[in-house]
């Protein structure tokens, strides 16, 4: 008996994988049904539905990049303190000192790539008409995922706390000040400032809400850090789960009728 067979016949191995290797038809079916990760997929699919030239694999790649971002992101969190004193120097140390510094590169390029792949995924879904019934609602969930992907990237952009970061966020968040009714420089904010009460001030308008202050400062860093590392990823994970569930329930990847 070879070593491989010995391992595969051990009690430990068989407690993990509850069936023989997927080398024949029966076990290839069983593996899809019993493995937690694989059960995302159906057992069998139409050939054209999984053809690379049809789906471009873009949804899958986006998901994979999300996982890469999660893993590299957790590693980065070990080295990064979101305070004005440390943020910049912790990032600098990643470049100059830390062995795992390349995690930052992978994390940043992965984020750029994810923005691009999520667009391309939407592009493909549109061009194959895959948002048409019965998949309308999954498209809506997709649009939410698109927004959240952009917001993930946007909140992460601030964290290195260099010139590039704060000015990009300043430009972006200046828009919030122009929100109609709720921003101090938006049309109609006077509507809420009638009868002597100043509801909309520079310490209460939409920009203040976003930044946690009047300018991009320590409170902003903290706010964006929590959004970037906890809040948005949690929501995205939930929506991805629903998205995948719906792909299955809506009849799998779209096909000509």
């Amino acid at each position: 008996m070879s070593v491989g067979d010995y391992i595969r016949n051990s009690q430990i191995w068989r407690s993990v994988f509850r069936h023989p290797a997927p080398t024949d038809r029966r076990n290839r079916v069983v593996v899809m049904l019993t493995n937690f990760f694989l059960h995302l997929h159906p057992v069998s699919v139409k050939q054209q539905g999984i053809a690379l030239s049809y789906t471009w694999c873009m949804g899958g790649i986006t998901f994979f990049l999300f996982l890469v971002e999660t893993i590299t992101g957790v590693l980065l969190m070990f080295y990064y303190r979101p305070t004005l004193d440390w943020a910049f120097y912790d990032i600098q140390a990643l470049r100059d000192v830390q062995t795992l510094g390349i995690m930052r590169e992978i994390h940043r390029w992965g984020a750029h790539a994810m923005v691009i792949t999520v667009w391309l995924h939407m592009y493909r879904v549109f061009l194959t008409g895959s948002y048409k019934p019965p998949r309308e609602f999954n498209w809506v969930i997709g649009v939410l995922l698109l927004v959240l992907t952009l917001l993930l990237s946007f909140t992460g952009y601030l964290l290195p706390w260099d010139q590039l970061a704060i000015w990009a966020i300043t430009v972006g968040s200046n828009m919030a000040r122009a929100t109609p009714v709720l921003g101090l420089e938006g049309p109609g904010f006077q509507l809420l400032n009638t009868s002597g009460y100043e509801l909309i001030t520079n310490a209460s308008d939409a920009k203040f809400l976003l930044l946690g202050g009047r300018f991009v400062g320590e409170a902003t860093l903290n706010r964006f850090y929590i959004l970037h590392c906890v809040a948005i990823p949690l929501v995205v994970s939930g929506l991805i789960a629903i998205h995948f569930w719906r792909v299955r329930k809506d009849g799998g990847i779209s096909q000509p009728l």
Binding site: P22, R28, V29, V31, M32, P42, S44, V45, K46, Q47, Q48, I50, S53, Y54, C57, G60, I61, F64, V68, F88, I91, Q92, R95, I102, E105, I106, R108, H112, L120, M122, Y123, R124, T128, G129, Y131, K132, R135, E136, W139, S153, F154, P160, W161, Q163, L164, T170, V171, G172, N174, M175, A176, A178, P180, E185, P187, G188, V216, S254, P256, L257
Partner: protein, 442 residues
């Protein structure tokens, strides 16, 4: 001002590698075109042409590797007159936008032509060559070579590639439909087991991506500028690259529209797409003819209005958000005259109207801006019903009132950007409605 690595010293070697990769690609292409319809002889003339191209690329690559000079004096570089010509004639947003519209129209009208493998491949080679030659220019290099901008250059090629796939597959399917043959997606469409057919593809995909990311991470350092300082405002200050299309809209609209209302409408509009597109055809396969209106609208929004504006904002907008040619130095002192006027200013100066009403009470402001307000209200409220009984009657009948109103309003919102651009360029129009007293400018 800028703290990006100057890649001048390594650019010649880099280009050597660049042309070497092009050489490899063209060798594969030569082999591919050698064999036509399974017969080797048919392809000889075409293959010869590509073999010549490949050997030229080989010489190009060798020349770059063996040269020790600087790219500014190297024999193979863009001639100065060409750079000056491009900078002098292509450096304003009007030309840029018009060119992108022309390209867009050509892409749709000539789809049967440019999707042909040889045409598309020639196009790819030409654009790569243009990139390579342009990299010998210092100013071009400084902007395109910024670490954060490299992905955008890659994105351009990737978007072009997938657009090509789409049109190739649609042209093929449209032909099949016309001839009554089954769709491409309906052929060879047996059920297969997910293990191994899908899981192996996924595994390979993951491995390849990991390798790509690691190499990318080694080759290109993530940018890190000076520590943040609220005293020193960089010029230009740019939002993250994926929002630069929105930042570009700030040229034409105030922040409340460009930064808040329009993005919300884009997202709302995207979510509404499945509920307004009543066309049942084209679900689950590539086609252009069966849904030409939907696809054209979407492509128009994505290519000229989103991707092209990002490219414009990233590569062509310099200090003070001025437009710079691709080979032009980003000079902080460049001034562009801006003497734009509001619609109201122009209207009340018309003979016999007696000049613009002055006063800051609400009534006077309303009177002053009434022309613009009427135009705007007419655009959003009178135009949809008019369209519904005329040009878009077909849609109105099939959609019903509510759906049609949503649909036509979304189209009108999408159109305001090009409309405002044209008004600005053609008539120096600043605001259609300008009420700075209430931050309400359109």
């Amino acid at each position: 001002m800028q703290h990006y690595p100057d890649i001048t010293s390594s650019v010649l070697t880099g280009l050597g590698w660049y042309y070497l990769i092009m050489l490899g690609m063209n060798l594969l292409w030569t082999v591919r075109s050698y064999k036509v319809d399974g017969n080797f002889k048919n392809g000889v003339p075409v293959a010869t042409v590509w073999a010549v191209v490949a050997s030229l690329l080989m010489m190009l690559s060798a020349a770059h590797f063996s040269s020790a000079g600087s790219p500014d004096t190297f024999l193979i570089r863009l001639p100065m007159w060409f750079r000056n010509f491009v900078d002098a004639n292509f450096s304003n947003p009007v030309i840029y936008f018009v060119l992108s519209i022309v390209l867009f129209a050509g892409m749709i009208l000539l789809r049967e032509w440019w999707t042909k493998p040889t045409v598309a491949w020639t196009g790819l080679n030409l654009s790569l060559l243009f990139m390579g030659l342009s990299l010998t220019d210092y100013d071009f290099r400084q902007i395109v070579g910024k670490p954060d901008n490299v992905p955008i250059v890659a994105m351009l090629f990737i978007v072009a590639f997938f657009t090509w796939i789409y049109f190739t597959r649609s042209v093929d399917n449209d032909r099949r439909i016309a001839e009554g043959r089954p769709l491409f997606e309906q052929e060879n469409n047996e059920k297969v087991l997910v293990w191994p057919d899908l899981v192996y593809t996924e595994l390979i995909c993951m491995v390849v991506l990991t390798v790509v990311l690691v190499f990318w991470g080694i080759a290109l350092k993530a940018p890190l500028e000076e520590p943040a300082s609220s005293m020193k405002t960089p010029n230009p200050s740019k939002a993250p690259w994926y929002f630069l299309g929105l930042q570009e809209m700030l040229v034409y609209f105030d922040p409340w529209l460009a930064g808040v209302v329009l993005p919300s409408i884009i997202l709302g509009g995207l979510m509404a797409v499945p509920y307004i597109d009543f066309n049942k055809a084209g679900n689950g396969y590539y086609t252009f003819k069966q849904r030409s209106f939907a696809v054209t609208t979407f492509l128009f929004g994505f290519l000229p209005l989103w991707v092209a504006l990002i490219v414009l904002g990233t590569f062509l907008r310099g200090p003070n958000w001025n437009f710079f040619g691709i080979y032009e130095l980003w000079d902080v002192h460049k001034v562009e005259a801006a003497n734009n006027v509001n619609l109201s200013e122009w209207f009340w100066e018309l003979p016999g109207l007696g000049g613009i009403p002055k006063g800051s009470d609400f009534g006077t402001i309303l009177l002053r801006e009434s022309p613009g307000i009427i135009v705007t209200l007419a655009y959003f409220f009178a135009l949809p019903p008019l369209l519904g009984v005329s040009v878009l009657r077909k849609y109105f009948v099939r959609m019903g009132v509510l759906r049609f109103l949503v649909f036509s309003n979304l189209i009108l919102w999408m159109a305001i950007l090009p409309i405002k651009m044209l008004l600005r360029w053609g008539f120096n129009l600043k605001y259609i409605v300008g009420i700075p007293e209430y931050f309400f400018n359109i």
